[in-house]
C-alpha cells in the first residue's frame, strides 16, 4: 500500500444553512482545494446519509462534481448511516493507497434542518432494525437511553457524569467559530438549580436535552494525496496512519454483552495495529458523542481508559483540552453539531487542525498523533482512524 496524506481541509459553519445541500458540500470542498493549492482532483467521494429522503436529491456526488467544475473526474456518494463520513475517508484512502488515484476530494455534507426535528429523528431512526426495533418507535435517543441505564447500573455512571461531558464539550465549542452551539452551560444550569429540570427536560429517560447533540446542517472536506503530491504541495505532512472498521448486529438486543460496543473495540484494535501505535501514543481524539454516554464508553473501548473507568477519568479532568487525554476539543458532536454525513469528515478536519498546530485557543500542545471514532448505527458500523504528523 502507498502512504496517504491529508494536504487540504475545509469546513462550513455548522448551523442552519439556507443554501442547497450540494453547495454545502461544495463550499467546504472549495476551502479544502484552496488549502491544498489544487484546482482539480482525480476522484471525489461524497458522504451523505439523507439527501434522497430529506432533500429530494439522489446521486449527490454528481451534483457536487459538477458545481465544483471538477467534471470529468469520477465521483461517488457513500451512504453508511452516521459513519458515512469516515467511510468516505476510507474509500478515498484505498483509492490513493492502491495507486489508482493520486488526489481525492472527500466531502461530507448533510442538510437536516430542511425538515422539522421529529422528521429528522425519524429519518435517523430508519437505520434501526425495521421489524424488531423501528416499528416499536425505537429512536437513536431511545437506544442511547436504554444503554445509559445499563451503564449506570453496572459501572456507577450518574446523570452528573453525563452532564459533565456536555458541559466540557459545549464549552470547548465556545473556542470553535464553526461550531453550532455557542452557548456556555454549567452543571448548575442544567442539573443543580431549581430551573434545571425545565432547562434540561427528558428526551428519553434517563437522558436529557443537554445529553443530545443538536440537529445541524453543515459540510466538511479533505484532500487526500499520495506522498509525491503531498511533498510537492508544501503543506504539513499529516499521514493517515491507521484505519479500522467493524460491524455488529443490527438489532441491539442481540448483542451478547449489552454494555459492550464491540465494533468500536475491534475497529480501534485494527487501526492501532495498522499504525503500529498504542492508545497511550494518542495525543488528541475526536469521539462520536451524539449522546454524552457515548463519549464515556468510546473512551474506554478505544483503549484510553479501562472498561467502566471512563467516567472517573472525566471526573478528574483528564479529557479536557489541558488534560492527559484531551477528547473533543472541537466541541464534539454535542457542541460543534452533527450534520450526519459530514460528521466523520469534520472529526478529521479537527484532528488535522490539531496536528498542524492551527487550532488556536483550543490547541492541544504538541499533538503528534490523533484519533477519530465515527460511530454508525447504534454501534453496528464503526470506523476508527489514526493520524500522524511527520517532520
Amino acid at each position: 500500500m502507498r502512504e496517504v496524506y491529508i494536504i487540504g481541509i475545509g469546513i462550513t459553519t455548522f448551523t442552519r444553512l439556507e443554501y442547497p445541500l450540494s453547495e454545502i458540500a461544495a463550499y467546504a470542498s472549495m476551502g479544502a482545494l484552496k488549502d491544498a493549492g489544487l484546482t482539480d482532483v482525480d476522484y471525489l467521494v461524497v458522504a451523505n446519509m439523507g439527501s434522497a429522503r430529506i432533500n429530494s436529491q439522489s446521486a449527490l456526488a454528481s451534483a457536487v462534481a459538477d458545481t465544483l467544475s471538477l467534471t470529468p473526474a469520477g465521483a461517488v456518494r457513500v451512504e453508511n448511516g452516521p459513519a458515512s463520513g469516515a467511510s468516505a475517508i476510507k474509500e478515498g484512502f484505498m483509492a490513493v493507497a492502491s495507486g489508482m488515484h493520486d488526489t481525492v476530494l472527500v466531502a461530507g455534507a448533510e442538510r437536516m434542518r430542511e425538515v422539522n426535528s421529529l422528521e429528522a429523528t425519524d429519518f435517523v431512526a430508519t437505520l434501526t432494525h425495521p421489524m424488531a426495533e423501528y416499528i416499536y418507535g425505537v429512536t437513536l435517543p431511545g437506544h442511547a437511553a436504554m444503554f445509559t441505564r445499563l451503564y449506570m447500573e453496572k459501572y456507577g455512571v450518574t446523570e452528573r457524569h453525563l452532564a459533565m461531558v456536555g458541559v466540557k464539550n459545549q464549552n470547548n465549542a465556545m473556542l470553535n467559530k464553526d461550531a453550532h452551539l455557542h452557548q456556555p452551560i454549567s452543571l448548575e444550569g442544567i442539573l443543580d438549580s431549581p430551573e434545571a429540570m425545565t432547562n434540561n427536560p427528558w428526551v428519553a429517560e434517563p437522558i436529557r436535552f443537554f445529553d443530545c447533540c443538536p440537529v445541524s446542517d453543515g459540510g466538511a472536506a479533505l484532500i487526500l494525496a499520495s506522498k509525491e503530491v503531498a511533498e510537492a504541495s508544501g503543506r504539513p505532512m499529516i499521514r493517515i496512519s491507521g484505519i479500522g472498521q467493524a460491524t455488529d448486529t443490527l438489532a441491539v438486543h442481540e448483542r451478547e454483552e449489552p454494555t459492550d460496543l464491540m465494533a468500536v473495540r475491534r475497529a480501534a484494535e485494527q487501526a492501532y495495529a495498522m499504525a503500529g501505535i498504542k492508545p497511550k501514543d494518542i495525543d488528541v481524539a475526536e469521539l462520536h458523542d451524539a449522546f454524552t454516554i457515548l463519549e464515556i464508553v468510546e473512551s474506554e473501548e478505544v483503549g484510553f481508559f479501562e472498561k467502566g473507568k471512563g467516567h472517573i477519568a472525566l471526573e478528574k479532568g483528564e479529557t479536557e483540552i489541558g488534560g492527559k487525554m484531551p477528547i473533543n476539543p472541537s466541541g464534539g458532536l454535542k457542541g460543534k453539531g452533527h450534520p450526519v454525513g459530514a460528521t466523520g469528515v469534520a472529526q478529521v478536519h479537527e484532528i488535522v487542525m490539531q496536528l498542524r498546530g492551527d487550532a488556536g485557543e483550543r490547541q492541544v500542545k504538541g499533538a503528534k498523533n490523533g484519533l477519530a471514532c465515527n460511530f454508525g448505527g447504534f454501534g453496528n458500523n464503526v470506523i476508527v482512524s489514526t493520524y500522524t504528523r511527520e517532520g
Binding site: 431512526a125 416499536y136 431511545g142 428519553a204
Partner: protein, 115 residues
C-alpha cells in the same frame, strides 16, 4: 386472528435467533430457509427500558415506554412497555398488540406489562 412472533431455529445446529436472519449466526452452515419457526414465549425479565418523550410523528402519545426483555428461553426482544414504575430485572409478560399505525397498515409487536 391470533398473532404470534416467531424465533428462528437453525436446522443445522439448533441455535435460536430473533429477529430473522438468512444465515445462522452460530454455524453459518444452514441452507436457504433452513430454519424452523418457533413461537416465542411471552414471559421474561426486563433488562433495560426508557420512556421516549420526543417521538416520531406517527406515535400519538406524549411518552412511549420501550424495553429490552430476556424471554424465558433466553432470547432477547425489544418491545413497548406499559408499566408505571419499571425496575431492572422485574418479571414481565408480553402480548401481541398494535404497536404502530401508519398510512398502510397496523404493525403488530410485543407490548410488555408487569407479570
Amino acid at each position: 386472528m391470533e398473532r404470534e412472533i416467531f424465533g428462528y431455529k437453525c436446522q443445522k445446529c439448533g441455535t435460536l435467533h430473533y429477529p430473522f436472519r438468512m444465515v445462522c449466526k452460530n454455524c453459518r452452515a444452514n441452507g436457504y430457509f433452513e430454519f424452523d419457526t418457533v413461537p416465542l414465549p411471552h414471559a421474561g425479565k426486563l433488562l433495560t427500558f426508557t420512556f421516549i418523550h420526543n417521538l416520531p410523528a406517527e406515535f400519538e402519545v406524549a411518552r412511549l415506554g420501550l424495553g429490552i426483555v430476556e424471554l424465558e428461553n433466553g432470547l432477547r426482544v425489544t418491545g413497548q412497555i406499559q408499566i408505571d414504575d419499571p425496575k431492572l430485572g422485574m418479571d414481565v409478560v408480553g402480548a401481541i398488540e398494535v404497536v404502530k399505525r401508519d398510512a398502510y397498515d397496523n404493525r403488530y409487536g410485543f407490548v410488555f406489562r408487569a407479570a
